[in-house]
């Protein structure tokens, strides 16, 4: 076997033809360019203060130091992360559950007003939430519900995307399965819980990832409603390190800010990389010709 055949085999195993090579390389190049901001972010987080703003771009730190991270951890970062975790998990669980119930009802159950209801949901997507945020803020304050987990969780449990995802999915399920159960005398909720939901692995995952990411990165609301440092969620806490351009930036803040946002991005990226496999599995599974 000479080189040319070996080469051709390698190509074929990668679904490539030799004329695809230049495009393949170009694509890889662009992909690497695409993640350069991350590379710089992480790299800077390990640079000592004086080496952050250099005339020439330095991709790798001259000296790798942990000072920035040490300074970040002088703050209750662990507490913030815990707050975010608690809030995001509860929000996601409730949001997915309520969304699944509502989505199922819209897909399967027959009751007057259901179309109007759905239309209202879709319309609400177009409304700038900023319009609602101030009235909500004042409202929460008046009821005395500020600065607590409850105030963080409550506004997030009614999520329209969750409903939409489940509705679309349930509409696609064959009715026969459920009819069988109805004949056997199961209650509506029983059918929902015991038959429909176990089949709903894909929307469950999709909605969960969506809601969790949304909640984790949620910013404006926690910023407004939380007054105490130890109740802050992670994005709000970390944002304290990030000098907004033009106000009070002094050099050493930058390295620390990079360390802060590296930490902040970790959970999101981790979750994505873990669940990416489920996505792939799902996609490749259904790619098998049935």
């Amino acid at each position: 076997m000479n080189i040319s055949t070996g080469f051709k085999n390698t190509l074929r195993r990668g679904n490539m033809k030799s004329r695809d090579l230049p495009i393949w390389i170009l694509g890889l190049f662009i992909a690497i360019l695409w993640i350069l901001p991350f590379v710089w972010m992480v790299s800077t987080s390990f640079k000592p203060a004086k080496e952050v703003m250099t005339k020439e771009i330095e991709w790798f730190p001259r000296h790798v130091v942990l000072d920035n991270y040490k300074k970040v951890f002088e703050y209750p970062v662990a507490r913030w992360a815990w707050n975010s975790l608690v809030v995001a998990t509860v929000s996601t669980t409730l949001g997915v559950l309520f969304g699944a119930m509502a989505g199922y009802a819209l897909a399967r159950l027959n009751f007057p007003g259901k179309n109007v209801f759905f239309a209202v949901l879709i319309a609400s997507l177009m409304i700038p939430t900023e319009m609602t945020i101030i009235p909500m803020y004042v409202g929460f304050l008046k009821v005395g519900l500020s600065n607590s987990y409850i105030s963080l969780i409550l506004p997030t449990i009614a999520n329209v995307f969750s409903v939409y995802i489940f509705r679309q999915f349930f509409m696609g399920l064959p009715v026969e399965l459920e009819d069988a159960a109805t004949i056997d005398g199961a209650s509506r909720f029983g059918i929902f819980w015991r038959i429909a939901m176990p089949l709903a692995r894909s929307p469950l995952i999709a909605a969960s990832i969506l809601l969790f990411t949304l909640n984790w990165n949620s910013f404006l609301w926690p910023l407004l409603i939380i007054f105490e440092d130890k109740m802050k969620t992670m994005p709000v806490g970390i944002a304290a390190f990030t000098p907004v351009v033009g106000t009070h930036t002094q050099l050493e803040g930058f390295g620390i800010a990079m360390a802060g946002i590296t930490l902040l991005s970790l959970p999101g990226l981790l979750i994505f990389f873990i669940f990416q496999r489920f996505f792939i599995e799902g996609i490749s599974r259904t790619g098998i010709k049935g």
Binding site: G14, W24, F98, A257, L264
Partner: protein, 309 residues
């Protein structure tokens, strides 16, 4: 005649309920129970808040003290406020840059990844990952990349002979600078959608076309693209709505400047409400934005439907 008057009230009602129909089918009263846990918070936090917000639009209010009714004064002021006009013009310009950018690039990248060449897994992760990070990352990292003197982008442009572009400090370029960062951030969304849709298309279709003599490009254009049309339509609609509501990038990168050249409507609303304390005026502009989004979406849907014909 099926509900004998002899039965007690509740039993009669239950019987009637069980037989009630809608759309020629029996009504599932349990449906209301199913939607209740969603509906109550939705009603409270979204609907009521919106109604309240709309009411405020006709008032003058500064958190402390009671709102004072001013009728249409806020709206009148908004129409003549040059900053408002600028903000609305800007979001349309943002739409014109970001939506095609995200759609076209997303599609190209998805086609590439769909080929399943070597390292396609890495490439897929690379293109989607910006989507999961929060706005602070955009603000900090991209502000540095777009810095006029020290920024990465200008450094590389210099290498090919292009002089430094003041991405964030000039009225001509600020909007573009923010758009670039936005495309990087938002692309993952259209990318993954296209990818999923592409994987739906059976390979045989494209291969059949190629056997018939069509080139790769042609088979894509005439075979795959029509199948992707609904996906494209959905992406354009959603991205357009999202772009018109752009906020975090503007806030973190330029704060709307210089001279409002990169300002977005939502950013302006935020400044008005939080910084300048004019909640009534902010609410009025919010309502205007909602209407504009509705109109633009409607037009855009029409355009797409017609292009299919």
């Amino acid at each position: 005649m099926n509900t004998p008057a002899t039965l007690p009230f509740w039993q009669r009602t239950r019987l009637r309920m069980r037989k009630a129909t809608w759309n020629y089918q029996r009504i599932d009263w349990s449906g209301y129970v199913f939607i209740l846990p969603f509906f109550i918070p939705f009603l409270t936090f979204t609907v009521v808040a919106i109604i309240f917000g709309s009411y405020i639009a006709f008032n003058d209010w500064g958190i402390m003290g009671a709102p004072q009714f001013v009728g249409l004064a806020n709206f009148k002021e908004a129409f003549t406020d040059e900053w408002v006009v600028k903000a609305f013009t800007n979001i349309l310009r943002y739409g014109l840059i970001i939506v095609p950018g995200v759609t076209v690039l997303g599609l190209i990248f998805a086609v590439y990844v769909n080929k399943r060449w070597y390292f396609s897994g890495f490439v897929r992760a690379a293109f989607y990952s910006p989507n999961v990070v929060s706005a602070t990352v955009i603000g900090l990292v991209w502000v540095w990349i777009l810095d006029t003197q020290f920024g990465l982008l200008n450094k590389y442009l210099n290498m090919i002979g292009i002089p430094n572009i003041p991405w964030l400090t000039s009225t001509q370029w600020s909007l573009i600078g923010v758009s670039i960062a936005s495309i990087w951030w938002d692309l993952g969304f259209s990318f993954v959608l296209f990818l999923a849709a592409l994987q739906e298309i059976p390979r045989e279709l494209q291969e059949a076309a190629e056997i018939d003599g069509a080139s790769g490009m042609q088979s894509f254009w005439y075979v795959s693209l029509p199948i992707l049309r609904p996906t494209i339509s959905m992406i354009v609609t959603l991205q357009l709505i999202a772009t018109m509501r752009i906020f975090s990038q503007v806030y973190m990168m330029t704060n709307g400047g210089p001279a409002g050249s990169s300002d977005s409507v939502i950013h302006y609303i935020y400044q008005t409400a939080i910084v300048r304390f004019r909640l009534g005026y902010a609410a009025a502009v919010s309502l205007m934005l909602f209407v504009v989004i509705l109109i633009v979406t409607f037009i855009q849907q029409r355009l797409i439907r017609e292009s299919v014909q």
